[in-house]
């Protein structure tokens, strides 16, 4: 356990292009007539199907059960008929089975006023079960099962609960809107997490430029008499990473091979605590999420609340289509997101954004030889030398690369973003990890 100055290490300052969507209130997308719901929307193995083709499902009904504690339940986002199954490739390249649900029948939740449940007397065990049953995962893209993360050994002592409102991928503003518009829900979700984890301190961390969210949170915290700190950090990518945030707030470091709970820190994003709030207070499973739609190719960028399983093409149509041809469509942020070619790919629990980027805004450049300028080394927030790792992997020196910290790479994208030689550093390192895992595993 090392305490260090909290100035961020490395990182980059990409042009964040959030201004386009930052002030756009969240609006509801039209409910799609057909949803494609993947059984793999989380880390870990795919969920086990519990309905069959031809079954009628209600809104929010369980359709896939978590196979183990790392996985999460999957629910029907709309009422209707299971008209088929299909195998699809998700944006992140994993493939899985998906249920096709044709909308019909009555909504149980949509348009109805739900009665909040008083959770104060609910036991921690019941709260964890509520989170698990409702399929809550890390909503900022990780897809990690939240009930597992929150279910700590009895002896574990958590000093810091950090609610992560950093959202520092460029273009994204859905979390920011959530904090502004659903301030109380975020705070209520935080209180539930606090009750489960019993931390000594609760901090909500944001970037300085989220001024309105900071104001709203501070005001509501004061009005409700909560003892939460709101910390506004200087803008720097990728300090929203949970280990980097733990370092910034708690002053403690932990390498990528270990969990932050080992240094007494739990980091959970605002979107995740909001999903916890809905799961506990309204017993609502994760069947919708807020997605930022942006990029210069899109006619009218937006923050949209959308049902899981909605084909991305429908979201694009929802935003008025394209004003010019996009060069690529990215699911997630531009630093860590994945491109898709098939716009019928559905929204999952991990879909934070859909970006339609034009050739001019991605600034693609020709690859040249490495000029050893060291920009990647300076940018690396975890203290690696991406250029050296890349060269080792190029030469097949897997052991050396591992010793030089290959598996500590958090794939944040800083090195590849900054490289003047346009070398695909992140891709090289990711492939290197795969190669090591394939060749007899890690030492």
């Amino acid at each position: 356990m090392i305490t260090l100055p909290r100035r961020p290490r490395g990182g980059v300052h990409p042009d964040n292009r959030k201004a386009v969507t930052r002030s756009l209130a969240i609006r509801n997308a039209a409910v799609p007539s057909r949803c494609v719901v993947p059984l793999l929307q989380h880390a870990g193995p795919a969920a086990v199907p519990v309905v069959r083709v031809g079954d009628r499902v209600r809104e929010g009904m369980l359709i896939g059960r978590a196979a183990d504690s790392t996985a999460a339940n999957v629910h029907a986002p709309v009422p209707g008929m299971v008209s088929g199954t299909t195998t699809l490739t998700l944006a992140d390249e994993r493939s899985c089975e998906a249920f096709v649900i044709d909308l019909e029948g009555e909504f149980d939740r949509l348009g109805k006023v739900a009665e909040p449940i008083d959770w104060q007397r609910t036991s921690v065990r019941e709260l964890l079960r509520g989170i698990r049953d409702n399929g809550v995962v890390g909503m900022s893209g990780s897809g990690n099962a939240v009930h597992r993360k929150f279910n700590l050994p009895r002896a574990a002592e958590i000093e810091h609960l950090i609610v992560n409102g950093i959202e520092n991928e460029p273009y994204l503003s859905a979390d920011n809107r959530l904090m502004i518009e659903m301030t109380d829900g975020v705070l209520e979700g935080t209180r539930i997490a606090e009750r489960i984890l019993r931390p000594q301190r609760v901090t909500i961390a944001l970037q300085k430029d989220s001024t309105q969210a900071i104001r709203n949170l501070r005001r509501r915290i004061r009005e409700r008499g909560l003892d939460y700190a709101v910390r506004a950090l200087p803008v720097n990518y990728p300090q929203g990473d949970e280990r980097l945030l733990a370092r910034a707030i708690a002053g403690r470091e932990v390498s990528a091979e270990r969990e932050t709970s080992e240094i007494g820190v739990i980091v959970s994003s605002v979107a995740t605590v909001y999903a916890v709030f809905e799961a506990i207070v309204y017993q609502k499973p994760v069947i919708e999420r807020i997605v930022t739609l942006s990029g210069a190719a899109l006619r009218s960028p937006a923050n949209i609340k959308v049902r899981i399983g909605t084909p991305i093409a429908e979201l694009i149509a929802e935003c008025g289509g394209f004003v010019e041809s996009p060069e690529k469509i990215v699911v997630g942020g531009p630093m860590m997101g994945h491109t898709i070619i098939d716009v019928s790919t559905p929204v999952t629990k991990a879909t934070t954004a859909v970006l339609a980027l034009t050739a001019t805004e991605i600034y693609h450049g020709a690859e040249t030889g490495c000029i050893r300028c060291g920009r990647c080394v300076r940018a690396c927030p975890v203290g690696l030398e991406p250029t050296s790792l890349y060269k080792m992997l190029e030469h097949g020196e897997l052991d050396q690369a591992q010793a030089a910290g290959l598996f500590e790479c958090i794939e944040c994208g800083c090195c590849g973003f900054i490289c003047p030689a346009h070398i695909p550093l992140v891709d090289g390192l990711k492939n290197g990890k795969l190669a090591v895992t394939r060749h007899g595993g890690r030492t």
């Binding site: 980059v12 990409p14 460029p170 280990r243 980097l244 370092r247 470091e253 932990v254 990528a256 093409a313 394209f322 004003v323 010019e324 041809s325 060069e327 690529k328 469509i329 990215v330 531009p334 630093m335 860590m336 994945h338 491109t339 898709i340 070619i341 716009v343 980027l357 991605i362 600034y363 450049g365 020709a366 040249t368 030889g369 490495c370 000029i371 050893r372 300028c373 060291g374 080394v377 690396c380 203290g383 690696l384 030398e385 250029t387 050296s388 080792m392 050396q400 010793a403 910290g405 500590e408 794939e411 590849g416 973003f417 900054i418 003047p420 030689a421 346009h422 992140v426 891709d427 990711k430």
Partner: protein
């Protein structure tokens, strides 16, 4: 801009790429061209004061570098990254205006053909190509490489014997050291001085320096603006410094190397630089050392070459400090009048070692080790 075709089908031609999905507005090419642009004012000044001959030397260095690059790489593609053109320009600017053309060509061929391409081209060389070319011809044709031209602004358009630095060094070696300092030595040796120098010095003293209690002797303005015999592009410290504004504002070069170089060189020049002239410690003529010779050029444009300098900020500080200290040592105690080029060459050789000793500390761990 609107494309109805893609709108109707909703299926534009898309590409699949690995993250990150967008990029900083920066490329190898943009780095090379911004250094080239930053060098141009000083190059043009050199061409102005040394005449047509200087223009021919610079052009020949650039063209010979470009041709060598194209011949060796076997395509014109590597030329477009701008690195060979930059090497040629730097090299041309580091040569004397009256140097024979075969020396220029030899320097360029050595720079690109040997220093750069025997290791595999851009990014793989351990030594700065322009520097290597210059040092190679310096030791191969020392005579022509140390014959200098008087700038037209000093009246005479003729071959001069020596640069201010070498005049001063000879004086010190011959024991005429008790003359007070380098500028005094120059004055007593009859080294010419322009009317601009005295006019600007007087103006500065009257209007600015007197208010802060400082008096500037005559003889510094000429070398600062480039009114001295010397290499084509190294004379004008003023225009070279102006070019660095572009480099720093565009973050083309890092601040660590020039800063550490400056601190080490100025510090040593000030603390012990006065001793050879019979002065006490802390009496060195820092200003003269800075504006003379190739220090400004080397500090900002050569030592900062990304390829041959260390990767980390800490490594860059070590590198810069080492180069600055060595420049001073060679100038004060070495056989050559100018030490900046050799100093950086030596530090280039140390770069792999510095890299190994200044690895970054990993998150949650100790300094990274590879073996």
């Amino acid at each position: 801009m609107s494309n109805p075709e893609t709108q109707r089908s909703g299926r534009p031609m898309l590409v699949k790429t690995a993250a990150p999905q967008y990029h900083e507005r920066l490329s190898t090419r943009s780095l090379m061209w911004s250094v080239t642009a930053a060098l141009l004012p000083a190059a043009m000044w050199g061409i102005y004061v040394y005449g047509l001959r200087a223009l021919l030397v610079v052009l020949m260095a650039v063209i010979a570098s470009a041709i060598t690059e194209t011949l060796i790489s076997g395509s014109r593609e590597t030329l477009s990254d701008g690195s060979a053109i930059l090497t040629g320009l730097l090299l041309g600017m580091m040569l004397p205006p009256a140097v024979p053309f075969y020396v220029v060509i030899a320097a360029a061929v050595f720079a690109i053909g040997v220093a750069k391409w025997t290791f595999g081209g851009l990014g793989r060389n351990w030594i700065n190509p322009a520097l290597a070319g210059r040092v190679f011809v310096h030791f191969s044709w020392t005579g022509p490489m140390t014959r200098w031209t008087m700038p037209r602004t000093l009246g005479a358009d003729s071959i001069a014997g020596a640069t201010p630095l070498s005049i001063v060094q000879n004086a010190v070696h011959e024991g005429q050291a008790l003359l007070g300092g380098p500028v005094a030595i120059l004055s007593s040796s009859g080294f010419p001085r322009s009317t601009l120098d005295s006019a600007v010095t007087e103006w500065l003293n009257l209007n600015i320096l007197t208010h802060i209690g400082v008096h500037l002797p005559a003889g510094y303005v000429d070398p600062f603006v480039g009114n001295v015999p010397g290499a084509i592009g190294e004379g004008s410290a003023l225009l070279l410094l102006l070019g660095t504004l572009l480099l720093f504002s565009r973050r083309t070069i890092s601040w660590e190397i020039p800063t550490a170089y400056f601190a080490a060189f100025v510090g040593l020049s000030w603390i012990v630089g006065g001793l050879p002239y019979g002065g006490a410690a802390f009496s060195g003529d820092v200003l003269f050392q800075l504006v003379s010779g190739s220090v400004i050029m080397v500090m900002f444009y050569v030592a900062t070459d990304p390829v041959t300098s260390p990767l980390t900020a800490a490594g860059m500080l070590v590198f810069g400090a080492g180069a600055g200290a060595l420049t001073f040592v060679i100038r004060a105690y070495g056989g050559a009048a100018e030490g900046a080029a050799l100093a950086v060459l030596f530090m280039n050789a140390c770069t792999p070692l510095i890299n190994r000793l200044t690895r970054p500390r990993r998150l949650g761990g100790r300094r990274g080790r590879t073996r």
